[in-house]
Amino acid sequence: MSFPPTMELEADIRAALRTVIDPELGHNIVDLGLIYDIEIRRDGVVEVIMTTTTRFCPATGFIREAVEACVSAVPGVKEVNVELTYDPPWGAERMSPEIARRF
């Protein structure tokens, strides 16, 4: 059984995650800098480390579930584990320059 190259799969995952928006800020969670890390194992298991703009926001659980659902649907992904972290906390400096300009 063969898997797509890791980098290609990560690019696919990031592209898929760009369809998930932060409902309050209205921008996608990748360019907002909410996805801290994507680790892809050779067996197709993906570990995502992410955060939210506000700790304990009522939308947090939904955003985590959305990331899980979105990554699971990417071809080549067998399993997804999403870890939520606030260390370090999100800051506006994590946004992509393009989003920061439109902010």
Binding site: T19, E24, F56, C57, A66, C70, F103
Partner: protein, 450 residues
Amino acid sequence: MQMATISRWTLAYFGCALVALVAALALLVSGFGFPSDGLAAPRTLIVVHLLAIGWLTLLMLGALFQFLPVLVGRELAHARLTPLALVLVVSGLLFLLSGFAGLDGWDGFASEMLPVGGLLLISGFGVAAFVLFATLLRAETLPLPAAFVAVALMSVLVTALIGETLAGALAGLVGGEFSVALVTHGVSLHAGFGLGGWLTLAAMGVSYRLVSMFLIAPERKGAWPMLVFGSAFVALAGLCMALGLLLALNTSLPIVLVVAGIAAAVTVVAYLGDIAVLYRARRRKAVELHMLSALGAFGMLALGAVMLGFGLWQGTEAAIGAAVYVLVLGWLSGLGLAMLYKIIPFLTWLECFAPVMGRKPTPRVQDLVAEGRARIWFGVYFAAIVVGALALLAEMPLATRAAMGLQLVSVLFLIGQFYRARRLIDLPSPWQGQERPRLFLPAREPRRFI
């Protein structure tokens, strides 16, 4: 990791609160209560309690059930008790208003309903405070905004206890020198604990987090916000001392109230300084309408505080009444309406779109509102407050009622905007087919949202 959840009954609290606000404004416009009647007249007390309990307290409790978990990072404890608190507070308020009607001599109403209403209100606030304190106790650490809420919750209980004692005195159940002293000196303490200790401190605590969250500004930490909290604590300690003197000696010591007043003024100045820093430090350059309107409310806090100082120095009913009007309808109500303009669409979005996020495209929260329509009515609302305050100071009752009429119209329009957000009317076409949520009752099938 624990996460905050959606409070199922918050919108029911908001619905009842808005009904009370409209009823109170309609009464004021019709010439019911101050300034047509005296500040302490039963008809004025009906309007004041409709605003303070029916509108502002229900609004604040509904908001706290949703946002205290956000402040402390824990789920709401004993959430099933929140509808019980709502029923107790609403029924207590109805009895209280009936008691005031009895005091005013209305047929079929008796002043004895006052203490019954007071007992129901104490029970309702007690249940709400139990839920909120239990949530606070779940926190590993108590962030400053939550500390404000903790002190505010103690104040609402003290307010209710003083109110119940006053109700007993007005209904003739408590007599003697104590009753006279209570009615003479206790009313200002009741108002101080209620409007200052409860509503203003809770609004300050919640706004610290919300302003920072909505503007993407670094949270305020360090000595300055501690000064806000510390001076508020001194002001409340002064009120507690004055209450102790009243209970023990049937008297009042003006110097204690002066110290409390100075501490309260320091609180307001330091708090507004913090808010100004938050706005200046924001990373979100475009300010959405709710945060723009909140600026109007912060301005009203500054104006109302100055007017209250002036009013207490002057000692006239018109000046004190105008100051309380600005603080209640400008600061607290203005901030409340501004926050509802964001919170209602946000909760609606969570209910309708959050469960499908990541599976299909979702709109932004901002897509649920049309700011252009609401912008002018927020402007009209705050302008009407300034005109109404000037008319009250100038003792021009017709102009006052006209200004209140404008307020009523703008509130009705804003409620129309809240309705449109709940019914998903302003959503862009791709999402127009979305199933609509219930207007203000919780979803039929309780869901865990984490």
